[in-house]
């Protein structure tokens, strides 16, 4: 059997997903044995124009990580979609927008104004801003167009599989790689390397009926290791987040922030978590509820930490 042709690409990302692939450790050799990697900017020297030269559907599987932040990301997404038989949204950024997707609290102007003007360390008296086209004596230089809104890969091109996680757990990556090699992939559009149920299924903590009288911040509490974090007043997004990670954060005494995204039935992870968490507030009058709600300082940044572009509202209105 011919070796698989594999491409890995990153758009608006931190590179953690690439490292997660390396976390396969010695199994990376098995990957190399089963597949030839044709594109992987972090590890191999290939150029975009090489990719552009490939015939359509030349690549068997493309693992695409990162959100779509600018025209370059969009171009590569479209290019690799055309060149690949199977497109995998790899990691939370590609699947839901991820941490870069949080930039949807602002538009291009908002980001530029802050980054190139307002931060205390900025020294930019001329007010220089990135230009898509800039004339230098030698000719014209170009930069990608910076969009107002971060998009997921799925909002940009059709995606065959979603492998979420920030980053995806190594064992999940390996399971998916094996499935690809064996040709045992589920129907297109599926999430792979995930659990059907939410993180609570994997969470070893004891769960009881929930009634929360106060939400606490880390300096206010040392969480008991055996007891559900939410019951201890720590906002944990585990109940609204698809499992598959093995409850890594929770096992480290840190509440879940939802990087595996919503379960299959849920339209909007943040709204669902918001609904669940508000429902268990132990107060039956408006003043009492308000007191507890006031303790949740940043609902948007908490409940939409990894999924703002994938949410129903997608972005903040500017």
């Amino acid at each position: 059997m011919a070796k698989l042709k594999l491409a890995l690409y990153w758009a608006a990302t931190c590179g953690g997903c690439e490292v997660a692939v390396l976390d396969l450790n010695e199994k990376i050799l098995d990957v190399a044995a089963a597949a030839d990697i044709y594109l992987w900017p972090v590890a191999m020297d290939y150029k975009y124009k090489d990719a552009e030269a490939w015939p359509d559907k030349f690549i068997d599987v493309c693992l695409f990580n990162g959100a779509i932040r600018n025209s370059e990301g969009e171009h590569l997404a479209k290019l690799l979609r055309a060149k690949s038989k199977v497109m995998v949204a790899f990691g939370s950024c590609a699947c839901f927008g991820g941490i870069p997707g949080l930039a949807n609290v602002a538009d291009r102007e908002g980001v530029f104004a802050r980054v190139y003007g307002e931060t205390p360390s900025t020294d930019n008296r001329d007010g220089t801003r990135p230009q898509t086209s800039f004339a230098v004596p030698e000719g014209e230089l170009t930069l990608p167009h910076f969009y107002d809104t971060v998009k997921t890969l799925g909002q940009t091109v059709p995606v065959d599989y979603f492998l979420p996680g920030c980053p995806p757990a190594a064992k999940q990556i390996w399971a998916v790689v094996q499935a690809i090699v064996a040709g045992q992939l589920p129907p297109p559009g599926s999430f792979v390397g995930v659990a059907e149920k939410s993180v609570c299924e994997e969470c070893p903590r004891v769960k009881e009926e929930k009634k929360v009288t106060a939400f606490l911040r880390p300096h206010q509490v040392i969480p008991q290791p055996e007891k559900c974090l939410l019951e201890q007043g720590l906002v944990c997004c585990g109940p609204a987040t698809r499992g598959g990670c093995g409850a890594q954060c929770i096992n480290a005494n840190m509440p879940c922030r939802g990087c595996y995204g919503p379960t299959e039935r849920v339209t909007d992870q943040g709204a669902k978590m918001l609904s669940a968490i508000a429902s268990i507030i132990d107060a039956s009058d408006e003043a009492g509820v308000k007191k507890v709600v006031d303790q949740i300082v940043d609902p948007l940044g908490t409940f939409y930490r990894f999924g703002l572009p994938n949410s129903l509202l997608t972005r903040v209105r500017v």
């Binding site: 949807n104 669902k272 918001l274 609904s275 940043d298 509202l313 997608t314």
Partner: protein, 149 residues
């Protein structure tokens, strides 16, 4: 759309089956006039109103969302409306972060007998949203992101 004055807000109203929907019903049978801008969606209880519904309505182009339930203590399901009462402030806090004016999403307790209040709330809300202007999330906000679904 010929101008702001002719703007007709589109409001989705989630009415609980036992109190508010009956209040709306009574408003009808009592021949009370109120704007037709609010389209009711009947739910069994205001506690059934998932914040997702509100976001979905906005994402689909609603300019405002009204949630109506029984008065606290009068819930047909005893404590259902308390859940609406608990979710609403947190939802409003999130919506504020999303840049949505708080007047666009309103929670009201309307009993089966309060047809007058129902008509008044719908009237008030329609006027308030009309003043705020179109939200049109699906056109104005999504186009910035050229959202594909």
């Amino acid at each position: 759309m010929s101008g702001e004055n002719s703007f007709e807000p589109r409001i989705i109203g989630f009415l609980c089956r036992w109190c508010s929907y009956q209040g709306a019903d009574l408003a009808g049978t009592s021949r009370r006039h109120y704007p037709s801008n609010m389209v009711p969606v009947r739910v069994m209880c205001s506690g059934r109103v998932d914040p997702t519904f509100v976001l979905k309505a906005i994402a689909d182009g609603a300019d405002g969302v009204l949630i109506c339930g029984c008065h606290p203590g009068d819930c047909h399901y005893q404590s259902g409306n308390f859940n609406a009462m608990r979710r609403y402030p947190l939802l409003m806090k999130a919506l504020e972060q999303f840049g949505i004016e708080k007047e666009r999403v309103r929670l009201e307790w309307i009993s089966a007998s309060e047809s007058e209040k129902f008509a008044l709330v719908v009237k008030e809300m329609t006027e308030t949203v009309r003043r705020l202007g179109p939200l049109e999330w699906n056109r104005r906000v999504f186009q910035k992101g050229q959202r594909k679904t």
